[in-house]
Structure formats: structure tokens, C-alpha cells
Symmetry: C2
Subunit: 300 residues, 2 copies
């Protein structure tokens, strides 16, 4: 195993840029993004900009994909000037996006035709933790691929859970994580909207219930942000975009349907996030979903 693999990062968005920046402090990093300013930020952090995914991947031992969804994964790898054009046999591709098990398996199969290895490694934790190497990463990969990508994963993760040997295994666990997280945020929104409807003080409700049998990580984390949404005229800071849950609850209900498992709450949550997106909240913080159930200007 090469302890300092040359790493290509494709996608310098909310998660990709802090990951690439952290990696560039320890490893040779080449990166591609559609945005010139993003590439310049990476260059300032010591990375090398590339003009295309293919160019970024040319010298790489490891290619890390940090893009939004499977369409972008396909474009970055197999599109015009995609990284697959320059991948060498034995190069390891780390998929950090949440795309679902089937998409990860299909991608791994196409990469295997070119002799490349795949590490299915969807990440959780947000941009700040990405920059601090404090992500939670759930992995599906065979041992050889995992070994080759370890120096990169270890720089990014504070908790790395190997779910199984197949690409897709990490996606499966991440989907279940997102089912719970997305339903819990929606439940918090219903609780706070109902508290308002009943004339209770939402802040008191959050404080009274967060430590008991009604508690969840999301109720304690998003609850106060939802309360804030009513206290201020300004939109709250975007820590996690609402449309991430449109995508991820779509993955959840899709794989549940394929597995013939009913998930009525996840399906209701998916519809709620779609309603939020339709209401113009796609790029807002996901806690803003509460305003769909209980509008700010509403009579109480």
C-alpha cells in the first residue's frame, strides 16, 4: 500500500472542497470542478487544478468522487472527458455520494471492466466535519480496494464502518441512516407545528421533550433551528440543504419498493420534502420544512 497515494478529487462542492483541502495538506491532490473559483480555492490550499475529470485522474492512484447524485457520477466517470478515459488498472475509485445500492453496484461493474476497483463510501457529517477529518463513513468494499484507499479514508473519517465486501453495502446502511434522519426531522417539524397550533410555546416543548422518550438527535439539533425560524425574519443559516432529503428519501422509497418492504412513514416524509421543494425551499436549511406545516404568517 502506498501511504501517500496521488489522489484526484472530482467535485469541489459543499463537501468536496473541504475534503480536497484536507487531503491536499497531506497528499498530492489534483482536482476538477465546473467552477473556476472553487478550483482556485483548492489551488490556494496546495492542490493542482485540472481542466477535465480525465486530466485529474491521469496520474491518480485514488479517484475520490464528491458529486451530488448518480447523474453526476456517470458524467464524471463515463461522460465526455470522464475519468474512465485515463483510469489505470488498479486505480481505486471512492464513491462518497449517496446514490443507493443499485447505482453503486452498477458503477462498480463498469469500473471493473476497466480494471479499476471501487470503494462504496457514502459520507455523513456535513462540511465542517469534512474539513476536520471528522466524517462518518460507511463502506462496502473488498479488502484490496479498502487497503489501497485507506490513507485517503483515514484522513477524512473519524468513524469508518465496514458494512460488507460489496460496493452497495455502504449505500444500504447509509439509506437506512437517511430513512431515520429524514423521518425524524419531519416528525420534529410536525411536533413543533402542532405545538404552535395548540398555543404552546415551541421552545418550551423542545426543551421539555428532548431528553425523554420523545427525544432524537434530529429533534435536539433541528428543533431549536425550527423554533428560530419563527423568532426571526431572516432565513436560518443553511447547514444542510432541504433538497438533499428529496434525493435521499427518493433513494429510500425506491430501494424499499424494490425489496418489497412497506415504508409508509418514509414515503410520507418524501412527499413532505417534495412539498418543501415545490414551496421554494430546495436550497434552504432542511429545518425550514416546519414552515410548510405551519407558515410563519399564519394565525395561531
Amino acid at each position: 500500500m502506498n501511504p501517500r497515494p496521488h489522489t484526484a478529487v472530482i467535485g469541489l462542492g459543499a463537501m468536496g472542497l473541504p475534503m480536497a483541502t484536507r487531503l491536499a495538506a497531506h497528499l498530492p491532490v489534483t482536482a476538477y470542478d465546473i467552477s473556476e473559483p472553487r478550483l482556485a480555492q483548492l489551488a490556494a490550499a496546495g492542490g493542482t487544478p485540472a481542466a477535465t475529470p480525465a486530466e485529474a485522474a491521469r496520474e491518480a492512484d485514488v479517484v475520490l468522487l464528491a458529486v451530488r447524485d448518480q447523474a453526476q457520477v456517470d458524467a464524471a466517470l463515463f461522460g465526455e472527458n470522464g475519468a474512465a478515459l485515463t483510469l489505470r488498472p488498479g486505480t481505486t475509485v471512492i464513491l462518497t455520494s449517496t446514490v443507493g445500492p443499485d447505482a453503486a453496484r452498477a458503477t462498480a461493474a463498469r469500473l471493473a471492466e476497466r480494471g479499476a476497483l471501487t470503494v462504496d463510501a457514502p459520507v455523513s457529517g456535513g462540511p465542517v466535519r469534512a474539513g476536520n477529518g471528522d466524517l462518518l463513513i460507511v463502506v462496502g468494499a473488498e479488502d484490496k480496494a479498502l487497503d489501497l484507499s485507506r490513507p485517503v479514508l483515514d484522513l477524512l473519517a473519524s468513524t469508518l464502518t465496514v458494512v460488507g465486501p460489496r460496493p452497495g453495502d455502504g449505500q444500504a446502511l447509509k439509506a437506512i441512516n437517511q430513512l431515520l434522519a429524514g423521518v425524524h426531522i419531519a416528525a420534529a417539524a410536525e411536533a413543533i407545528a402542532l405545538a404552535r397550533g395548540l398555543g404552546l410555546d415551541p421552545a418550551t416543548v423542545v426543551e421539555s421533550l428532548r431528553h425523554g422518550a420523545a427525544g432524537s438527535f434530529m429533534f435536539a439539533d433541528r428543533g431549536p433551528r425550527m423554533v428560530e425560524a419563527y423568532a426571526s425574519d431572516q432565513d436560518p443559516e443553511v447547514k444542510s440543504r432541504l433538497d438533499i432529503f428529496v434525493k435521499d428519501m427518493g433513494i429510500v422509497t425506491g430501494i424499499a419498493k424494490s425489496a418489497h418492504v412497506p415504508v409508509p412513514l418514509a414515503a410520507a416524509a418524501e412527499q413532505l420534502y417534495l412539498l418543501g421543494e415545490r414551496s421554494g425551499l430546495a436550497a434552504h436549511d432542511d429545518s425550514s420544512i416546519v414552515t410548510v406545516l405551519s407558515p410563519k404568517e399564519a394565525d395561531r
Copy 2:
């Protein structure tokens, strides 16, 4: 305030018997239940059995109602031989059942016509904590009623939250507690059913996700019981009956509708608990709801 009020307990079920037993160790307690064996258990603990609610309430300074639902509250107070026949002006009635804000307010109004005071005090925590004086109680009551009932409430509660001065205020917060708890149990069931459907080990999924952003009290508490449901041929011990959530999610969706607040996840959860009840699980532990989504004998 009388520090040792004579207390009548009406209803010696899963919650009523341990509460009455604990009270009888410290206060004069008279009790009524339809079940002779239950009355005998209370007598063995030092309480005095009564033949009717009216007889139980005759000498009482405080009447504590520990019955299942509003129909039983009405029968115990205002039915044939109901406690209202013997209540004296100034007697305080503690409603520990979860019945919803409107029902609690209506009961308080009828009691006020007879000069009795009402403490709306729905309890949480289960039978074991009831016997240890370790309940969580959320209260709606004016100061005078609260003062008169304090010696009883303090023997039962480790956490007492006074939500507001009106009967119904405690019920409102309890309903929000049940919304979150009921949705979180259903979400845990969907997560574990989906894990099985995807071929993941459910025990590993619970362990991997319970401490992170997907975590909830209910996922950590009911999750392992759901995993157990598949590991054993025996039904798990009943710690909390499934049909409690049929009743309580019904209260949640009812008051939300009255307040014109959409609660799509709570509504989906209500339907899921109704399905569980229809599947013969009413008296089973609520964690058994997972077997509705992923039957024990199913192909995986």
C-alpha cells in the same frame, strides 16, 4: 395543604396498581377496580378496597384516575355509582390518563359544576417507574388544585413539568410527546424491516446507527427488541402495549385536525398501528409493529 391527603385511586391496571401501591405506603388509600384480584393485591399493600368508585371517593381529599381512556374516565366519574356522586366541594381529581386536551377540559368543566378541582396530569414512564415514583408527569392545573394534589404527585413523579394553568395543557404536551414517540417507533420498524429486506444484519444496523444523526430514544430502546422478535420464537415481553399507540396517535391526529395542522407522518403511523391491531398485535409489545412490515416467516 394537607400533607397526607386521603387518596382514592380508581383503576388498578398496569399503571394504576403500582401507583396505588406506592401511594399506600405513604398515604391513606382507598381504591376501586373491576378486578377482585387487583383489589386484593392493593389490600395486601395496605390500601382499602371499595365496591364502587363512589364509595372509594367518599372520604377522599384527592381522587386519582388511572383508567385507559375517556370512556372509562366518564364511567368512573359520572356513570352509575361514579365518583362524582360522593365528591365533596374542594376535592381534587387527578387525571393521569392520556385523553386529549378537549376531553380533559370537558371533564374539568363537569367537575367544576360539583365544586371539584381538576389536575390534568398525564403520566409517562411505564409500570416499573410508576412503582418507584419515577414517572414523568406533565401538568395543566391552576395553582390551588396543584397545591392540594402536590403530596400525591410528588410521590409519583421524578420529573413534574407544569405546562400551564388550564386542564388540557398537560394533555397538549403529552400529545406532542406521543406524536414523536409513536413516529419514532414506526421509523425504527421501517429501518429494521428495510435492513432485513436489503440483507443487512439488523443488530449491526441498530448498533451502527443508534449513536449518530439517525439516533432516537425509541430506536435505541425498541430497536433491540425488534431485532429480538426475529431471533426468538417467543413473543417479546410486553413492556408497552401496541394499542396504546392506536389510542394516542388517534388523539394526535384528532387534535391536529381540529387545529388545522397537517401531520402526515403521524397519520401514517396511526394507520400502521391500526394495521398492527388488525393483525392481532393489540396486546403485544409495541415493538412487534416491525413484524407487520417484515413478517417473521418471510423470505428475505
